[in-house]
């Protein structure tokens, strides 16, 4: 079984899971540079997937009122308040009021208002399950409740999950969680996360969040094409002097084999609550089992030795 499923490296996840014939891998490209923090994605997701309420409380530290990705929050818009960066001087004519139309990003990150009265900038980013190429949650699930769909995504089957919570600890992004409440909600006690709207995909529909996004910050499509789009977008932003723009999760040779949902960020990943260089934990699984095997043999040997050379 370990031989058949590769634990690391770039693979087509659907083919790796045993689908001989399957559609192209689907995913999200979330371009946070055009996210306006409207939370339409959060709402659309809850509406379509019947996700119960999360605890709606201001955090006290920011304007984020939905806290984190969890069982009741399959899309989460992070509001990151950052110290302002001095605008990059491109040697271009400056743009005053009534100047030519500026790119949305330049406007948002650098010259929203005038630079003097802004000592901070807002980064907004809609986070979601990454649908990893090598998904730790799926690997460690002892019931087979988590499965790889024909679209290369990772989905939980509510009626099979036994609530063991192993996937929760295994996810390097802290996405999946066991539903705790509210009282009366469906599926309490079992693991819940974004399905990439599996039910909509099977009907050739766009996932609810991407459909609702007014700025096309959330793009849905074939992962291969999205990666191209993302590369083009980053190149364009770099041309415009937004040197902080970077892609996150798009690299099929990274620690999780690349993610099906990847991001364009304007700062370091950890600023958005993302791990800087995550690794699927099952990458080390063969080594772990080897060490455990050696330790087990040592225990047995210790038992035998304890009885050797002893008279009664």
């Amino acid at each position: 079984m370990i031989g058949r499923n590769s634990l690391f490296g770039p693979v087509d996840p659907a083919a790796d899971a045993g689908y001989d014939d399957h559609p192209k891998r689907k995913g999200f490209f979330t371009d946070t540079s055009v996210c306006i923090g409207c939370k339409a994605c959060e709402v659309a997701c809850k509406e379509w997937n019947d996700v119960p309420e999360n605890l709606f409380e201001m955090l006290g530290t920011s304007y984020d009122n939905s806290h984190s990705l969890n069982a009741n929050q399959w899309r989460h818009v992070a509001f990151v308040e950052r110290p302002a960066k001095p605008p990059v001087d491109l040697g271009m004519p400056s743009m005053g009021p009534g100047g030519v139309a500026v790119d949305a990003v330049t406007q948002q990150t650098e010259v929203a208002g005038s630079a003097e009265d802004m000592d901070f900038r807002w980064l907004m980013s809609s986070d979601v399950c990454k649908h990893c190429t090598h998904a730790a949650c799926l690997d460690v699930c002892p019931t087979g409740s988590l499965f790889r769909s024909e679209f290369g995504t990772v989905v939980v089957q509510d009626e099979i999950c036994n609530g063991c919570g192993y996937c929760v600890a295994a996810c390097p992004y802290g996405v999946i969680d066991r539903r705790k409440g509210p009282d009366g909600a469906d599926n309490i006690g079992i693991a819940q996360k974004c399905t990439l709207c599996y039910d909509r995909l099977t009907e050739d529909q766009v996932p609810a969040c991407a459909k609702a996004c007014p700025t096309e910050s959330i793009l849905f499509g074939d992962v291969e094409e999205l990666r191209q789009t993302a590369n083009d977008r980053v190149a364009r932003l770099h041309e415009q002097g937004v040197m902080d723009a970077r892609l996150y999760g798009n690299d099929p040779e990274d620690g999780v084999g690349g993610t099906g949902a990847f991001f364009l960020l304007l700062d370091e990943p950890e600023v958005y609550g993302l791990p800087p260089d995550p690794v699927v934990t099952t990458k080390d699984l063969p080594a772990m089992f080897n060490r455990a095997g050696m330790a087990a043999l040592a225990l047995l040997a210790g038992g035998v030795v304890s009885f050797l050379g002893r008279k009664r």
Binding site: V140, Y166, G174, E270, P275, D277, L285, R291, G303, R310
Partner: protein, 340 residues
Amino acid sequence: MSAKQREGHQQGEREGKHRGSPARDSMVPEAEFESYYGRQIVKPAPWEHDIAYYLFTGGVAAGSAILGTGAELTGRPGLSRVARAGSLVGLLSSVFFLIHDLGRPSRFLNMMRVVKLTSPMSVGTWLLALHGPFAGLASVGEVLRVLPQRWQRGPLGLALKLSRPAGIVAAATAPPVAAYTAVLLSDTATPAWHDAYKELPYVFCGSAAAASGGLGLIGAPLHEAGPARAFAVGGALVELVVEHKMEESMGLSAETLHTGTAGKWMKAAKVLTIAGAAGAVLGRRSRALSVLSGAALMAGSLSTRLGVFEAGLASARDPKYTVVPQRERVAAGNPVRYEG
């Protein structure tokens, strides 16, 4: 958290820079890192202490299965009896704790749907399913042996006959039961558990030997307890030495083994295990001292499990343990890449 620390923390949050949780006993300098308002990145396992108890009782069960068979084969009925009892009680309680900790105990049987080598929990369930019946039969044999002769016929007689070979199978399948729990914890994104994967199986196996040997010291008559004593002291030594080595190889997350609740458990584990091992060696001729040492060794083993368990949860709650090591790796030019 003192008022001053809180102020410092909030200050850090406003600037987006964090110094992490104050590590009181640690010699490691406070790590500077950035995060999303200091909030956790990976999620702590949603497990109660049940899982720590499960690790402990599983260890007692596995070690006792080995001791019981050795005692039976070498003609030590007293040790055999207590070890078999430990094996059965340990096994039943570990299954109870495992099922109790599932969010939905009624769905335990869903574990039996698949055999998944990539899931240590699935592997462990099947190991228990393989080991359990044999260990159970061996323990039942111990009870049957004290029954009047005339009852030892028919199916009961068959069970009695089978109990000895069953005991051998139980002893052979016991070590993986003790060792896999380390993989169960390590195969997660929980920093302190994953970072410990190289040594944790040895710590847990040593701990299992110490606890089951300790049980043997408590229950077996003095003249039969020799092997239990050796097993317990050897296990305690392995546990102590390898645990020290583990902390050196873990990196930053080793800090969580010294702070907070986990720190208390680990300190207790060290004291109890050292005291228990020393008492077991010195108290060879004293029944009372043997019993006391055995109890200390068992308590030490339980403390180790609780300490490792708590350290993992603490390392997941603080984003420092996720961000800093990954950042340092990337800064050193070693981002994780697939290379053919």
